[in-house]
């Protein structure tokens, strides 16, 4: 049986946990929000962006989605605000703002 991660939480009785605590699914962490951790927030300025995509591989949190060869706005549910993307952008298309915006 495939694991429905929404049915497992810290109140689940023991017999409803998965055998050996295995997870029968991939990528279930998407439902865990790490965006709350941010102390700084990247702001994307699409008008300045040349779609060079240099910001996309440097994200430790897979939080710059790419579709059809173009980057989209940040995945704020997961971005931790490390600022690496802003640092590598040659066109100032990413601006770091203090706080969790």
């Amino acid at each position: 049986m495939r694991t429905d991660v929404r049915k497992i939480n810290e109140k689940t009785p023991h017999h409803q946990l998965t055998e050996g605590l295995m997870i029968f699914a991939g990528g279930t962490s998407k439902s865990f929000n790490t965006g709350e951790w941010r102390t700084n927030t990247p702001i994307y300025h699409p008008e300045k962006c040349k779609q060079c995509l240099l910001c996309t591989p440097v994200c430790p949190d897979s939080s710059i989605p790419v579709r059809d060869g173009k980057r989209l706005d940040f995945d704020m549910d997961h971005c931790k605000g490390c600022g690496i993307c802003a640092n590598v952008c040659p066109f100032d298309a990413i601006e770091m703002k203090e706080g969790n915006v």
Partner: protein, 315 residues
């Protein structure tokens, strides 16, 4: 091997899901994403993982960040564990349990603790037996998961929590172990050393070669840890660049026994450029410690010359 285009690579479906608990700015997951992008979309994979930051953060029950099958066993046995998985694949293929059209690739990740140190024997055994798998070390130069203790990958004079700088101590006393060379001496088909570079072409090409070369392969990726190295999280790409430009972390590969330099800086930068950005080397810049810096530089030069020699030999 495919032609590299950042656009093509970044368009591939992400195989490391967000929502893991690695620190903001972690180098390890940047490296992992880059390795996984080298997998062909149609290929399945089983990912192994030694205990460490990556493991406790990427599979915290019930949340797995891995889109592919994943196994963490213990700290010291990622090599052996994946060699069991790879052998299972061989036999299940042979016996027809896995359909002929399905291809699996095997990649295991370990930090330098799980790879250079506690898992060294297990890695050596797996490499020597020649399992068709890639062992990827994300080398951040200390036991970061337990709180920045020295490892055999820690550079000399680094300030760690078990080699603290003090009145009687200038940090770690020993040079780092050159693991890529040691694994190359196992005579495996492919070994490479790389790190995060601007367009990730070097890492990508090496990951692709290691995954798609038949037999055992080893990839050593320098993956800075902002917490342990003490630099601003945003600066990771500058740090990696300086590691390469100072020849502290040379990029090379050993392809079927042939040593190849992947990049030679036009002008080798002094090691201070790399060290100065990191809090763990702050004490080296205090007056009176010039000889320590000099010694560090000499060690970098010695290793660089040695590498140039290996790469110049005809095979």
């Amino acid at each position: 091997m495919s032609d590299f285009s950042l656009k093509t690579m970044m368009n591939k479906p992400e195989r490391l899901a967000p929502g893991h608990r690695m620190c903001a700015g972690c180098g390890a997951t940047i490296a992992v994403r880059a390795v996984l992008r080298a997998l062909r979309e149609e290929d399945h994979a089983v990912i192994g993982n030694a205990t460490g930051c990556l493991e406790v953060s990427s599979f915290m029950y019930p949340y797995t960040s891995w889109e592919d099958s994943y196994i963490h066993n213990a700290f010291e046995n990622a090599g052996a564990t994946l060699s069991g998985v790879e052998t299972a694949y061989k036999v299940l293929k042979k016996r027809g349990t896995i359909p002929a059209e399905d291809t699996f690739k095997f990649i295991t990740f370990g930090g330098d603790g799980g790879t250079y140190d506690i898992g060294f024997q297990s890695l050596s055994g797996a490499m020597e037996r020649g399992h068709d798998m890639v062992y990827v070390c994300y080398d951040n130069g200390a036991y970061m998961n337990t709180g920045i203790q020295r490892s055999s990958a820690t550079p000399m004079y680094a300030d760690t929590t078990t080699t603290p700088v003090g009145k009687e101590s200038a940090g770690k006393m020993q040079n780092r172990k050159d693991l890529a060379s040691i694994i190359a001496d196992h005579d495996v088909p492919y070994v490479a050393q790389t790190t995060l570079t601007q367009n990730f072409k070097d890492l990508h090409k090496k990951a692709e070669k290691s995954i798609y070369t038949e037999g055992a392969a080893f990839l050593n990726i320098m993956a800075p840890c902002p917490r342990g190295w003490r630099y601003e999280t945003a600066e990771i790409m500058d740090i990696c660049k300086l590691a390469v430009e100072t020849c502290y972390w040379p990029l090379f590969e050993v392809d079927h026994g042939k040593w190849l330099l992947s990049y030679e800086p036009k002008k080798k930068l002094p090691i201070e450029e790399f060290l100065r950005k990191q809090g763990r080397f702050k004490h080296l810049f205090k007056p009176g410690n010039e000889d320590l810096l000099q010694e560090f530089q000499e060690e970098v030069d010695r290793r660089w010359e040695d590498l140039l020699f290996k790469c110049s030999r005809e095979r």
